[in-house]
Symmetry: C2
Subunit: 354 residues, 2 copies
């Protein structure tokens, strides 16, 4: 235990809700553990984080979160191995990205030890909440928002950093059918797409609902200018396999620098899979689908790890992807999960013990 | 009083804070009246609005407003005339725009009578809070956000529509110096820039802070693709006067359809001022500044009505604008204010009695 961990105060809940939870039938992110972490930014400084019983938040109606969308979040998971030990996956990268998001949204950055030690203290307290059944995990939601007041459109003077935990089942069930977006977009050049800013996600809802009405599960985002470059799959990074090459777009100010994405790039290299990080055009994907060289497409993100795509729609035509016996999607997913759950050696140094 | 107005319940505050307010020294949007309107969306329907004492809001930590930026707002004002009557300016346009924003953010639309009758009932109750001194007014903030719970990135199942009132002084004091933005942008083609979505505003803070560090007050937003078209001035629409022609960009999915902007277009037409609604390039503005034909630039929006620009920066050069004795900015501002405060005939039918 370091200095920060020692300073974190813990107020325990009087009773636990854990007995009311059906761990075999968890949905995603709808049940929450008994405690949460709260850390306030006031008078130009972060106060010491505290862990308190899970409870509602009370805010002034003029708090800037309600008006100007000054909010960011992260998505992580805690994994329990067979011996009952708890692990995190590349948590320092989440902390770094959190602060990158914070900076873009004019939110004060949170010190590493508040984030990491705060989370570990919370996880130790809630270790019984970490599901052990296949596919389930404890979803971790660090988030930060403007609690300061006033209707002037300028950064707030007070913020709240919080971490909540939600034991969760799998995010997607089964293969998804996606629509390559030709009208809407999620981010601008010079915009906030690379940040996990709240508003980026609400902006996706409407186009996604339109796609769902047409029979798709998700939208594949393209660049806002030409709609000719494939950028992300819903709230996941996207991978395309043409023949035996795995391709993903380069990160930019429009694309989130996903931790799953970069892990997959490293694993693929380690396994001798040819990987290309370069712009992907819609045309080449459609052509590859037509001539049979398009083998796979999948989304990559913390929640689902890998989400295989069964078919995509473009210009009112649907293109089915083949069912491969030994897909890259499955290989990548298994390799990552084995590292996350401490079932395999971690040659990359990604696993972090709580 | 119509049916809806009759159904709205009013719970009065036990004491008023009005005596503690210095109405001669109001800042913008930092003092709030005694009451607010709240209307909940639950089980697929809006409940009847209620007026209650101004008080904090209590929400679950997993409420989607904290995570996915599902929120919109409006900005309006109430004006008191010499006879003590209260007026709104084109309030039905605010309601329409609110629902346009709602739709884009997958938020259920609010019925017109809840918005208009709710606001009028609130204003009648708070009429003593409407400042009468020059430049001051009662700022009105309708807003709506996702109160529903869950960490799944999808639209919430519950929402709150609220209206708060803030007696306010002038938004800007004096002429502003602006920077034409060449790196950052506020909106994408196919994005949410035309909606008053919370996240659009937080996204502006960081680039604006960078501009402020360089000695400017505001950013002039350009298109995200080429940075060659002038789109908005901070959170205002932009007007440029070259020789005697008043020019403003066409609205698009990147630009908010401002009520002040469209009122100015109509007034200018009425006054015989040549008006052009067309794309404005940075090059033509810089050229016009160099050859002396650039007479004025100003922002237009509810808060400031018209905000004259004294100078703009571009490519590390500052360009000063002349001081004109009878500027369009001042003419437009006076004409609008006279209509708003019931000092002049309203040939357009914009004024609406509370
Ligand atoms: C827009 C977007 N792209 C990609 C990802 C994937 O990032 P990660 O692998 O770090 O979860 C996320 C987050 O999950 C995201 O929100
Ligand atoms: C981005 C933006 N542009 C322009 C305006 C001006 O609109 P209005 O004149 O309706 O206030 C606003 C709101 O005030 C705005 O937020």
């Amino acid at each position: 235990m370091n200095d920060t961990a020692q300073k974190i105060t813990v107020e325990k809940a009087q009773t636990s809700k854990i007995d009311q939870v059906d761990f075999d039938n968890l949905s995603f992110g709808s049940v929450f553990t008994d405690h949460m972490l709260v850390c306030d930014y006031k008078n130009g400084a972060w106060e010491t984080p505290k862990i308190i019983p899970y409870q509602p938040i009370t805010l002034e109606p003029s708090s800037k979160i309600f008006h100007y969308g000054q909010s960011i979040f992260e998505g992580m998971k805690a994994y329990k191995d067979a011996a009952g030990d708890t692990w995190l996956f590349r948590p320092f990268d989440n902390h770094k990205r959190f602060n990158i998001s914070a900076k873009r949204m004019s939110i004060p950055e949170i010190p590493e030890e508040y984030f990491i030690e705060g989370l570990k203290t919370l996880l130790r307290l809630e270790k019984d909440w970490i599901p052990q059944s296949e596919g389930s995990s404890l979803y971790i939601r660090p988030f930060m928002f403007a609690s300061g007041k006033g209707f002037h459109a300028s950064p707030a003077d007070e913020y709240k950093f919080m971490i909540c935990l939600a034991p969760s089942g799998a995010y997607f069930s089964g293969k998804v059918k996606v629509l390559i977006e030709q009208t809407y977009s999620r981010s601008a050049n010079g915009g906030v797409g690379y940040a996990k800013a709240g508003g980026n996600y609400a902006g996706q809802f409407y186009p996604t609902q339109l796609a769902v009405k047409k029979g798709y599960n998700q939208v594949i985002w393209t660049d806002d200018n030409t709609h000719e470059y494939i950028e992300e799959a819903g709230a996941m990074n996207i991978f395309v396999r043409i023949k035996d090459t795995l391709i993903t777009g380069p990160t930019s100010d429009r694309i989130l620098d996903g931790i799953t994405r970069k892990s997959i790039i490293e694993i693929a290299k380690d396994e001798g899979i040819p990987v290309e990080v370069r712009k992907i055009t819609v045309t080449e994907v459609v052509d590859a689908a037509k001539n049979g060289s398009l083998k796979e497409m999948f989304g990559a993100g913390t929640a689902a790890v890998v989400s295989p795509i069964a078919a995509f729609g473009y210009n009112d035509t649907d293109y089915d992807l083949p069912e491969l016996p030994n897909s890259y999607a499955r290989r990548m997913k298994e390799r990552i999960i084995d590292i996350q759950y401490n079932k395999a050696e971690d040659i990359f140094g990604w696993r972090h013990k709580v």
